[in-house]
């Protein structure tokens, strides 16, 4: 039964059937075969309960927040401020790319929004300062992935939902690994540009006076971070409430910058609802499939199979890492998260791994999926920012050093799980 479930799912998904339909049809078929269609009759009530779930309201709110920020006109000034502070390192503006992505990630829950926003502002600088184009593009694609690791993050909400893990704990757990990964990226650029001086472009001239003068431009993103993430940890707001506060704050910022208009709002609504519909249709189907799988005992069967292999927990985890790295080359991340985690999670917990730690691990693996060809959304986004006619491979090659850094990050997380667990343990346990 287990094999047939996996084979049917793979065939449907790689036949480019919409992922939600593949999951939905599979659940209905399994229900017909093993439960005489008894569970399917409850799908209406089940879906209604999930559709209005308050914690999920955070998803459209965070997307709306990102859509407003994208159009609020704060990105360029923020980027220029970060340039003043980070471009003394070998590799110049590329460090500003990572830094700006990190800061933007701290107010946005989406990797695509992060890469698109910083990419648009940074791209024209390649030609002006003679950077190595591949590495520069790679730094943008990789920096963008920080959006789902540094809180707030939409992926961590979805993970929290399907595994019943606390979202605030996941958010706390993402902070340190997010910072370390940013440092690894910065290190990779610095090493590459020390070895090949010509990659680093013309240095930016700056002074302490200018550095101090641009500091106010960093206030809006820092304030937004304080509102959204701060309110969760101060115990003032739940993730959904924090996201709502963030939306109101971002709208205020846009108004302050005079970029608020009816047209801008309509575009933000279109983008928000399109992405929400895209994600929710899969979430609802995946949650129902998960319910069916639990009922007919597939989850237990898989658990027995894996325990039967006699692998140690670490061996199992390494196997999972390889599996995710491979799958991530071909699958889009939200569908990857939703189709695999419900099956994998019980195994991982059974083996004694911490649910919060595994959430961070999966997120880093999803970040890798975002920048590994042939299917890597962030590669597309950064490629889309460029002038037309240049080969897509440039971006994919440029992202390679950062993929290596992500694999190192996976190793670090495996060796020092405390990095993810220290903050949540201090605050909550």
């Amino acid at each position: 039964m287990l094999q047939s479930v996996i084979i049917i799912l793979l065939v449907l998904i790689f036949a480019a059937v919409p992922v939600a339909a593949a999951l939905g049809v599979l659940s209905l078929a399994l229900d017909q075969l093993y439960m005489n269609g008894r569970l399917g009759r409850a799908i209406g009530e089940f879906t209604w309960d999930k559709s209005k779930e308050y914690i999920l309201v955070a998803i459209p709110m965070f997307i709306l927040l990102g859509e407003i920020m994208l159009r609020a006109g704060i990105a360029k000034r923020m980027y220029e401020a970060v340039v003043e502070w980070l471009s003394w390192l070998p590799g110049g503006l590329m460090h500003a790319n990572i830094g700006s992505c990190g800061i933007f990630a701290a107010s946005s829950g989406s990797s695509v929004a992060t890469a698109a926003t910083v990419g648009t502002v940074a791209y024209p600088e390649i030609g002006k300062r003679g950077y190595n184009e591949r590495l520069f593009l790679g730094s943008l694609a990789a920096g963008g992935t920080l959006g789902i690791l540094i809180p707030p993050s939409i992926s961590l909400i979805i993970y929290g939902l399907i595994t019943d893990t606390s979202v605030p704990e996941l958010y706390l757990a993402g902070i340190l690994p997010g910072l370390i990964l940013s440092l690894l990226f910065i290190g990779a650029i610095a090493i590459a540009c020390t070895m090949r001086k010509e990659w680093g472009g013309t240095p930016v001239r700056t002074s302490w006076r200018r550095r101090i003068r641009v500091l106010p431009d960093l206030i809006p993103p820092v304030l937004l971070f304080a509102v959204v993430v701060g309110s969760i940890y101060a115990g003032v707001a739940t993730p959904t409430e924090a996201a709502s506060l963030g939306v109101v704050f971002a709208l205020g910022l846009a108004a302050w910058n005079r970029s608020l208009s009816l047209r801008m709002l309509r575009e933000a609504f279109e983008g928000t609802m399109r992405t929400t519909a895209m994600i929710m249709l899969i979430i609802l189907a995946a949650v129902f499939l998960n319910f069916i799988l639990g009922f007919i005992g597939v989850t237990q069967g898989l658990l027995d199979l894996i325990t039967g292999l006699g692998l140690t927990p670490i061996e199992t985890m390494l196997l999972l890492v390889v599996f995710y790295l491979l799958l991530g080359m071909f699958m889009e991340t939200v569908s990857m998260l939703l189709t695999t985690v419900p099956i994998v999670f019980p195994i991982v917990v059974h083996m004694g791994f911490d649910p919060v730690w595994f959430g961070i691990m999966v997120t880093v693996l999803m970040e890798t999926a975002l920048i590994t060809p042939p299917i890597g959304v962030n590669l597309y986004v950064v490629h889309g920012v460029r002038a037309h006619g240049a080969p897509f491979n440039d971006v994919a090659y440029g992202a390679l050093p950062f993929v290596i850094m992500m694999v190192i990050m996976v190793g670090i997380l495996l060796t020092f799980p405390q990095l993810a667990l220290w903050l949540p343990t201090m605050v909550y346990r």
Partner: protein, 198 residues
Amino acid sequence: MKIFVRLHAWLENISRAAVWIGGAALLISAFMVSGDVIMRKLFSITMSGSDEISGYVFAAATAWAYSYCLLHRSHIRIDALYGLLPVWLRSVLDALGLALLLFYMGYLTNKAIDVFLTSWEQDSVSITTLSVPQWIPQLLWVSGLSWFVITLSFLLVYVLVSLLLGDLNTVQNVAGALSAEKKIDEETHGMDAMRKAD
């Protein structure tokens, strides 16, 4: 075929309007929820209810957005293999994908209508201080789902007719998985506005 083109445009206009209304309703919910948080924190006044209402808004707005997402070909499909196939096979897979999505959504919507009818007949209300009659939000939700099923059915007929006529171009334009280039356009659609804002 003209009738199909016109119906397609008509469905899209209504779906876009639904998305604007849904987005605006979510924005209003954000203000409501924020208001609740601020009142609770600053004045210790608990005005419960915004959580429940924003849940309903979310359910209805999302259901009504499915059609828009479909007409923009944004529902997630894994195109790693698909992209390598000849165009006629891709078109057949497009039709298959639509048919399976219609089957699943048709089944779900049918059961969702039962949920609504039961609430209507039994006058069910939510067990909260608001005591919202459940049929009201459920009607908004079910109508969005039904609209999606209508859009799906239309699109499937459109694609099948085009397939029979050998018009693979049309199939790709209305139901093909988005190419990388199109995806980029969709993902970065707001950036022109941003450039101007800066």
